[in-house]
């Protein structure tokens, strides 16, 4: 366009006409482009809303495989949602029998050999999130939503949604949502190179009008359920000697707690949590008291990265489902103010 303007310096009338023409064309075409991108983004957000709702409300039974690194696991899941509250039973199909029951607002873990269920104390479940659209918009500061087309999973048609990180401080996600309901039939966690580091995929799923309660009863019959323990010992930290000078963009601190660890009951562990509304990063701080550090340097646990270091005779561990660079960055930004109240 500019080349044309320079090579036709005298054609004033024609030029202004062409400029006007081009400008008009741009005005028509640009919004189309923007609208198309917007539409994809908005559609992806609507799918995410449906997904969160489906996860809570649907009745289904299915089998999925879970791949993490070199490990492959298969699990059976039964989920009932709706008015009577969510109930979910997951049981491993390979290896030793492991079961997780989510019922009556508590999580119960059943592991081999041990026939006791751990009943957790009841918690208030938040009502269905009404301000979800607004919060998904906040998530957009750190991630980009995109529709990636269609695929067939477990014999069902799905739409693929990409949640792509806007920078290299976080991982990406890919979700395959069933067309009719929004149920996640496959999900993948992608590292900074775009490689899938963790995957879950249903091989078979059946939606049901109602779930027979017997299906939601663990096969590892617990001898008993322990009464909920009244917990004490943790407290919100108002004043701490620890601070993180700089955070990766998008992350904010959402919690700072202090709890007593069994191994060092003399010294409480401080736990600080950061999130960008999707990824979670924890910082743990514990007095070493001359004992051997738990972790120094980088480590990988499943899809999580961890980084440990020792500051002022304290073990510092940063862990999260984020790239190594992110935990490293936070680890390097941790500051200890000597003399500050740590109690």
């Amino acid at each position: 366009m500019y080349v044309w303007l320079v090579t036709n310096p005298n054609a004033n009338g024609a030029m202004s006409f062409k400029i006007r023409y081009l400008a008009a064309l741009l005005l028509i075409l640009l919004p189309v482009e923007i609208t198309r991108a917007d539409a994809g983004r908005e559609e992806a957000k609507q799918w995410l809303e449906r997904m969160i709702q489906a996860a809570q409300s649907l009745n289904y039974e299915g089998t999925f495989v879970y791949v993490q690194g070199q490990n492959l696991d298969a699990m059976h899941i039964v989920h009932s949602g709706g008015q009577h509250g969510e109930r979910q039973l997951m049981s491993s199909l390979n290896g030793s029998m492991r079961e997780v029951l989510v019922a009556d607002n508590s999580v119960t873990c059943l592991l081999p050999k041990q026939k006791v269920a751990f009943s957790a104390s009841a918690y208030k479940r938040s009502p269905f999130p009404i301000s979800l659209p607004r919060e998904l918009s906040k998530l957009e500061e750190s991630y980009r939503f995109e529709m990636l087309g269609e695929d067939r999973i477990a014999g069902m048609e799905t739409r693929i949604i990409a949640i792509q990180p806007r920078d290299e401080w976080r991982f990406g996600y890919r979700l395959w949502l069933e067309r009719q309901t929004g149920l996640v039939l496959r999900s993948a966690l992608l590292n900074e190179k775009g490689d899938m580091i963790e995957q879950l995929m249903f091989t078979n799923v059946q939606l049901k009008p109602e779930i027979d309660m017997t299906l939601l009863t663990p096969s590892t019959t617990p001898a008993a359920t322990l009464p909920p323990e009244t917990k004490s010992g943790d407290e919100a930290v108002a004043k701490s000697a620890w601070s993180v000078a700089k955070l990766p963009a998008g992350f904010t601190q959402v919690m700072h707690n202090r709890f007593s660890a069994a191994s060092s009951s003399k010294h409480p562990t401080e736990h600080i949590v950061f999130t960008d509304s999707l990824a979670t990063i924890s910082v743990f701080l514990e007095v070493l008291d001359g004992t051997k550090p738990l972790l120094t340097g980088a480590s990988q646990i499943g899809a999580m990265n961890a980084f440990g270091l020792v500051i002022a005779d304290h073990q510092v561990v940063v862990v999260g489902e984020v790239p190594l660079a992110t935990v490293q960055m936070i680890a390097s930004a941790i500051q200890y103010a000597k003399g500050s109240a740590s109690k």
Partner: protein, 176 residues
Amino acid sequence: MADKIGEQLSALMDSECEAVEVELALRRLAKDADLRARWQRYHLISDAMKNNIPEMLDADFAKRISKKIAADPPPLQTSLPHLLPSWYKPVTGFALAASVALALIGLRLSQPSATLKPGTLAAVTTPIERRTDAAANSVLESRLNSYLVNHNEYASMNGVHGVLPYVRMVGYESKR
């Protein structure tokens, strides 16, 4: 009275209790430290009879784990609603289940033949620890585990992650 409890305890050990009785007995155990000690002794006796005793016993191990479990923090509910997006579900108590789970997983791998028994939260973690060369490492590992569990507990509150946190909870077994 005391003998009746004794009978109940041994029935509980052999999984011969009625469900209602079991619950009562466990509730009792949870309240009564002496009873828990007794429960532990019963298991020790049983292990001794089955020739299942390691060279060294660490009697305080269960106590330490139990302390840790009691102190394990639920997510801070007061701060959550304001700071986290609404698709985060508050899950007080999740840490309890999860940390027990992973602590057990860690333990089982370091002492594969030790059996885990029901009882109080203290007794749930096996009262006997094998002091092998790996013992020190396993303590470190279980501490690291407790960090991971505490971390995962927060990650699990995010509804966008779906069932993954639960899978991660039990999926670790094959890796540890």
